[in-house]
């Protein structure tokens, strides 16, 4: 569309140009010129076509009373009936709230910690200490969430857990951690940060590495302290990176970290009020209710909500500073 429009404008202006195929040729030439870049994009494009665009028509299931024989498009249309279930269950608000709040906590705390960590790494001068700290912080990222679930259970359970054993040995009464819903937002956020901060800090660390050295040299000549270097050079330079990462994560704000939540909480309904997110709820629905239509409906709701959030976030960013907007 954009291509054609600009081409039309150009022919309007360049009245003397008699060759209407010119924009086409120029497009081909541009493709030719950028063939290497395009080739590099190809795997990503293929990925999204195969896993995101091709299955999209299947979302139609959400509006049908699906049966196998008639298939996705042959099954009877039932309008919004499947969505009624979401409201009927009374869970929609709770799920949306939990999912969004957890992600906000992950995004805000995560980015602050990642930036802090990257700056601290940058300030370390001892080469080996720096490498080792980086590796140690990186490690949790490679631990499977299944193992994290097991570790958490062995740390926190009432009968044989390490934490409670410690409490008992120091004369305290053991705590029923797996029954206290209020404790889990903290526990989950801690595990998430422990797992992802080291890995996430790499991007910021790379951004710091990319800052023009002459800025630091100039600051040094002006007698800037370490803190002033951070405050006036590093932090402002990280702003574009931060905003782009923020935008990406806002787009995923309706997506929970299923693996972590499922492995920590599982079927423990005593904790659902503070820990149930869209993913875990949908998973239980399919697992125990054989209910493909409702879960597709939840998925569609989740996607639309997420899409609206991306547009909104981008609009806000554009208002603040157009250069930082994604589109």
């Amino acid at each position: 569309m954009v291509m054609q429009a600009s081409a039309a404008t150009r022919t309007d202006v360049e009245e003397h140009d008699p060759v209407p195929t010119r924009p086409r040729a120029s497009l081909l030439r541009r493709i030719g010129r950028n063939r290497t870049l395009l080739l590099m994009c190809l795997p990503a494009i293929a990925f999204f076509v195969v896993f995101s665009y091709a299955p999209m028509p299947g979302a139609w299931i959400a509006f049908t009373n699906f049966n196998y024989r008639d298939g996705i498009f042959g099954s009877p249309f039932v309008g919004l009936r499947n969505f009624e279930f979401l409201v009927q269950s009374g869970q929609l608000w709770l799920l949306t709230r939990n999912t969004v709040l957890y992600n906000l906590a992950f995004i805000v705390l995560g980015n602050i910690l990642q930036i802090a960590l990257a700056i601290m790494l940058n300030e370390i001068r001892a080469k080996y200490f720096k490498k080792i700290s980086q590796a140690v912080m990186f490690l949790p990222y490679f631990i499977s969430v299944v193992l994290i679930g097991v570790i958490a259970f062995n740390l926190l359970n009432y009968d044989t857990g390490y934490v409670n054993a410690l409490i008992q040995q120091t004369g305290g009464d053991p705590i029923k951690i797996y029954s206290i819903a209020g404790a889990w937002p903290i526990i989950i956020v801690l595990f998430q940060l422990w797992q992802s901060t080291g890995y996430g800090s790499i991007v910021y660390f790379a951004a710091i590495m990319g800052i023009d050295n002459s800025l630091f040299e100039a600051a040094a000549i002006d007698g800037a302290s370490a803190w002033q270097r951070i405050r006036y050079i590093i932090l402002p330079s990280l702003k574009p990176t931060f905003i782009i990462l923020l935008l990406f994560s806002l787009g995923g704000i309706m997506n929970g970290n299923f693996g972590l939540f499922w492995n920590l909480i599982g079927n423990n309904a005593a904790l659902f009020s503070t820990t149930d997110i869209i993913e875990t709820s949908v998973y239980r629905m399919i697992l125990s209710q054989n209910n493909f239509t409702s879960s597709t409906a939840v998925g569609l709701y989740q996607s639309l909500f997420g899409f609206a959030l991306v547009l909104l976030a981008n609009w806000i960013v554009r208002r603040i500073n157009e250069d930082y907007a994604l589109f």
């Binding site: 009373n65 699906f66 049966n67 196998y68 024989r69 008639d70 298939g71 009936r81 499947n82 009624e84 279930f85 009927q88 269950s89 009374g90 869970q91 259970f153 359970n157 009432y158 009968d159 029923k176 797996y178 029954s179 909480i265 599982g266 079927n267 423990n268 309904a269 005593a270 659902f272 709820s281 239980r284 629905m285 399919i286 697992l287 125990s288 209710q289 054989n290 209910n291 493909f292 409702s294």
Partner: protein, 520 residues
């Protein structure tokens, strides 16, 4: 060859598009009788065995099948990890490489999948022609009625000639019960387990009175079944729960023991008492251990499953691993005789709606179900290496055989036959006694032919399932400070979810069904 296959595929596709009653006439694969043998793939549940015994057995079974019906058998496994999801997803995928599907109305969503069109409707002519022995046996007992949806079509073949008891209860240790003061070490009432559990807690410091893992409602159901005359309607599930019952006194009025009466509260209070004693791990809901192994290791006072497990596995293992433990079985409803015979569709075989060779699939099924040689190969394996026949005519195992690594794993649970089944050396010595005891009291399940229309209430059932999965596990483990308040809250949420509409809809189906059969 290629063209032939294409033509067959096209014919099969056409057959599916045409109304289902004409399917038998299409017979797309009739022409292959003299050609290459057709491979029929059967979907079974369980972990795919890796010890090579299955393949060895198939090498002997297949020549037999080739000779009889010019076909080979292959097995496709839906493994135990997340089996509910995997099973339904596999059926949803409409994979045409699968021909026969193991199913069941009470644990494998047979009705749901039949309604969704995953199974090929089987016409009488088709069954008579391609599975004549099966047709005759099932027909003689009038059991085809148990496999029809409200469109009057047959959707699967029942495992209706196999005696088993899958009624649940507690396995416990007679030696410990005797020490706890029970005469003969026999517990006869559900509440008496409180005494047993207390004894275990005090006298067996290494053991949990009942080491149990994950979401569970046995403590509630065990109480409800023994203290009401409620009869659960097995066709109606809301998630993993069965929220609709009738009563023996009023068998055609739909109600729910989750909604009505004080028994649920009594059960929940008993569970709370057990939780306070420390019967299970405080974090049982998040615990994920092998509790049966704990029972075998003397680290749990109780294990919970059905009669078949007791006579086939528990007694043998406990006798060997805990000598003198005198394993016993207390089943739900033992106090008041509120226990049912197995339904005849606890195992069943369906033909995949997208199978390219439905007739051949039926022919293969007819052989493995009715030909003794094929049956023994498929269910027990090769004589001498997988099993031996003892002098008493029992089925035993060869020297050095270890059932945990050497099992055949063919998992054919959709067409076993009493006349071919032998007693096993691992069977409990009192198996017959237990069967006879159950036989004397058990009631016939009255609603086998009742097929409620769930189209309109599906969203309600799903919503109810959500509510139940939130409250029932916590009631079962005694986790609410005030069970009465929690039950009130749950009941209100079930009402909000549309319980009454669902019940009324089922009631009107029940009325029509009862009237049609002159029951009411």
């Amino acid at each position: 060859m290629m063209r032939n296959r294409l033509a067959r595929a096209a014919a099969a596709a056409l057959a599916l598009a045409v109304t289902t009653t004409t399917l038998a006439a299409c017979g797309p694969s009739d022409g292959t009788e003299s050609g290459e043998p057709t491979t029929i793939t059967m979907l079974v549940l369980g972990d795919k065995p890796t010890n090579g015994r299955l393949e060895a057995m198939l090498e002997e079974l297949n020549p037999l099948l080739e000779e009889e019906v010019n076909a080979n058998l292959d097995l496709f496994y839906v493994e135990w990890a997340d089996w509910q999801t995997q099973y339904n997803t596999q059926l949803l995928a409409g994979d045409d490489s699968i021909d026969l599907i193991t199913t069941a109305t009470d644990w494998l969503f047979a009705w749901e999948n039949a309604e969704k069109g995953a199974f090929l409707p089987l016409s009488e002519e088709m069954l008579q022609e391609h599975a004549p022995r099966t047709w005759e046996q099932v027909d003689a007992e009038g059991h085809w009625e148990l496999t029809k949806l409200d469109d009057g079509q047959i959707y699967f073949i029942p495992e209706d000639n196999f005696t088993q008891w899958t009624n649940h209860g507690f396995f416990y240790r007679g030696d410990w019960a005797a020490e706890a003061g029970f005469e003969d070490g026999t517990i006869t009432r559900f509440e008496d387990f409180t005494t047993y559990f207390e004894w275990v807690k005090e006298n067996q410091p290494d053991a949990y009175p009942w080491d149990v893992a994950g979401a569970n409602e046995a403590a509630l159901i065990g109480y409800l079944q023994g203290h009401t005359d409620g009869q659960t309607i097995g066709q109606l599930t809301a998630g993993n729960y069965f929220p609709f019952q009738t009563t023996e006194a009023d068998p055609y009025t739909v109600t729910s023991w989750y909604m009505e009466g004080d028994e649920l509260l009594e059960a929940a209070e008993l569970a709370k008492e057990w939780n306070e004693i420390g019967v299970w791990r405080e974090d049982a809901l998040n615990y994920d251990g092998q509790t049966r192994e704990q029972f075998f290791a003397g680290l749990s006072g109780v294990d919970q499953h059905h009669t078949q497990t007791y006579v086939g596995t528990i007694v043998d293992n406990m006798t060997k691993k805990q000598p003198g433990s005198d394993p016993k079985f207390f089943y739900w409803g033992q106090e008041n005789g509120n226990v049912f015979r197995d339904i005849l569709t606890h195992g069943a075989m369906a033909v995949n709606a997208t199978s390219n060779n439905p007739e051949k699939a039926l022919e293969v099924y007819d052989v493995i179900r009715n030909d003794q040689e094929a049956y023994m190969l498929l269910t027990a394996g090769i004589e001498g290496t997988d099993y031996v026949i003892t002098e008493d005519g029992e089925l035993g195992y060869p020297e050095g055989y270890d059932s945990s690594t050497d099992a055949l794993g063919s998992n054919f649970w959709a067409g076993r036959m009493d006349e071919f089944e032998l007693d096993r050396v691992t069977d409990a010595p009192n198996k017959q006694e237990i069967y006879d005891g159950l036989d004397a009291v058990a009631k016939e399940y009255p609603y086998s032919t009742f097929v409620p229309n769930k189209d309109l209430i599906d969203p309600t059932l799903a919503a109810m399932g959500g509510v139940l999965s939130e409250y029932i596990p916590q009631l079962q483990y005694g986790k609410f400070d005030d069970p009465a308040a929690a039950i009130d809250e749950m009941r209100q949420k079930l009402l909000d979810a549309g319980y009454e509409d669902a019940r009324d809809s089922i009631q009107s189906d029940m009325d029509a069904w009862a009237e049609e059969r002159g029951l009411k």
